[in-house]
Structure formats: C-alpha cells, structure tokens
Amino acid sequence: MVVYALWVINKTGGLIFDREFASGLPELSTNAFLKFASAFHTQHAIAAQLSPVPDCKGIEVIEAECFKLFCYETPTAIKFIVITDSTVQVVDSLLRDIYQLYSDYVLKNPFYEVEQPIRVEHWETKLAQLVGEWNV
C-alpha cells in the first residue's frame, strides 16, 4: 500500500500544491503536472455531465493497471487528489485527514490567500507525517 503523490487543485483547475511521497510514478516536469491538474479538473466535470443518472458530482476514483487515483472535492470546490499503487482499496480517511490539515494549517494561516499556491511549512511537515504513516 503506497501513496505516491498528492495534488491539490483550486476551483478553477489550477494546481496549487503537488508533492511526491514515494517513487513509483514517472519523472515529470512541473509543467506536465500543471497540465495534468487542468486536464483532470475538466475530466472530473465531464464525467458528471455524462452521468446516466442525475446528481452526479464528478470522478472520485480512477483505476488503471499500475495506479489508482482518488479525488475528494470539498464543498468549496478544492480537490485533493491522491495517487496510489493499485493495491489500495480505500483512502477516505486519508483524504479527510488531509482536508483537516489543510483547514488547520493552510486556511487558518493569515498570510495564505485562498486559491493561491500553497507554501506553508507546517502543512508540509504535518502532511509528510500523515502520509509517512500510510507508507510504512
């Protein structure tokens, strides 16, 4: 059970945070990640449009052969995306904990402006600790 990476996407599809926690994904440039974030943001919305039933909110899990991608969208349209290996079944609690850390260390930081790239040391430390527990 390995968590490879976390991305945080703001409500317009901009990547505001990305961190790799374990190797297992291909080497990609920052530009590539920005493109991904924006691509995923669109795909998330299109999946809701294509829904055969009403009230669909968007993609929550993508399963490929080598990895899985889990997405949690907050009520304020921030998306937390966690990319893991294919053995992981459920990461709900991890996503909720990440959101909790975001609320406590990022949103409550008076110098942080919402929707902007996140550069908060405490958040990064706590995050590393949290994911470290998962990756043991």
Binding site: F40, A47, E65
Partner: protein
C-alpha cells in the same frame, strides 16, 4: 424513492478506433430522452473524454502505453472500460454496486462483436452496427447478467 443496493446496468457504448460510436444501448434511463443531435454530442463527448482519460493514464503510468483505464467511479455511477487490440473501445456504465466488469466486456466482444459483426460478410469495418442479431442477442445476454436488475431504482 431509491431501492438500496440495487445492481443496475445503464448503458453500453462501443467506439471504433477513430472514436466514432458504432453501437449504443441503454437500459433504465432516468434522464430526459435527448434528440438525435444531442445524442450525437453525447457520443462525441464520451469518445473524447475516454480518449483524454487514456492519454492521462499512459502519461502517469510507469507502464506507459501498456497501461489502460480499468474503470472509474463517481458518486453516482461507475464506468467500466475495455479496449481491444484492434482499437475498438467498449464502455459500460453501471451503478456503484456492480463489481469489475472486464470479463463481461471481454465476453461481450468475443461472443457478440466478433460473432455477429466481424464475421458478418455484409459489415463494413468501422461503421455503425446495424445487424439486429447483434443488438438482440446482446440485449438478452445483458438482461440475464446478475448486475442487471429488473426494477429501476428511481420511481
């Protein structure tokens, strides 16, 4: 009211290698019925969407082009995907309780697509499937699957 934990198959799309929709079946539709133009838009959107998901996955994966979408889930439905070696793309939307349908999609391809479409001497490759045997037999088979419920979940 909804029937809890009810299995349901919603729709099947088959696209050829250039992304045109060559077959579409649906069951238990709850959204309003679209007209032909809206239908066409939906197919184009689905084809483009599946293609972009495929690109997304091959770039993110260490297996590159050999990796493929297995399925994705939203809060309301699941889409199972299977792409053949010849580039035919099958996508089936179901409710969330239905487990992996890759085997069924493979079966669908070999038992119905190959039998009634590929082996049909009147069929031109990559065109819309018009053979009624394909549709009828496929329909009968889908309705017998455990994933298909007879009672629509929304009333």
């Amino acid at each position: 009211s909804t029937v809890g934990g009810c299995r349901m198959i919603y729709a099947l799309y088959i696209f050829n290698r250039t992304g045109s929709c060559i077959h579409f079946s649906e069951w238990h539709r709850t959204r309003p019925v679209p007209n032909a133009e809206q239908r066409d838009q939906e197919f184009k959107l689905m084809a483009g969407f599946l293609y972009s998901l495929k690109q997304f996955i091959t770039t993110l994966s260490t297996k590159k082009e050999n990796d493929s979408l297995i399925c994705y889930k939203t809060n309301k439905y699941k889409l199972h995907y299977y792409e053949t070696a010849t580039g035919q793309r099958l996508a089936i939307t179901t409710d969330l309780t239905v487990p992996d349908m890759r085997d069924e999609l493979q079966k669908l391809y070999s038992a119905f697509f190959v039998e009634y479409v590929i082996k049909d001497p009147l069929y031109t490759p990559n065109t819309v499937i018009s053979n009624p045997l394909f549709k009828e037999n496929l329909d009968k088979w889908i309705k017998k699957l455990p994933a298909y419920a007879t009672q629509p979940p929304y009333s």
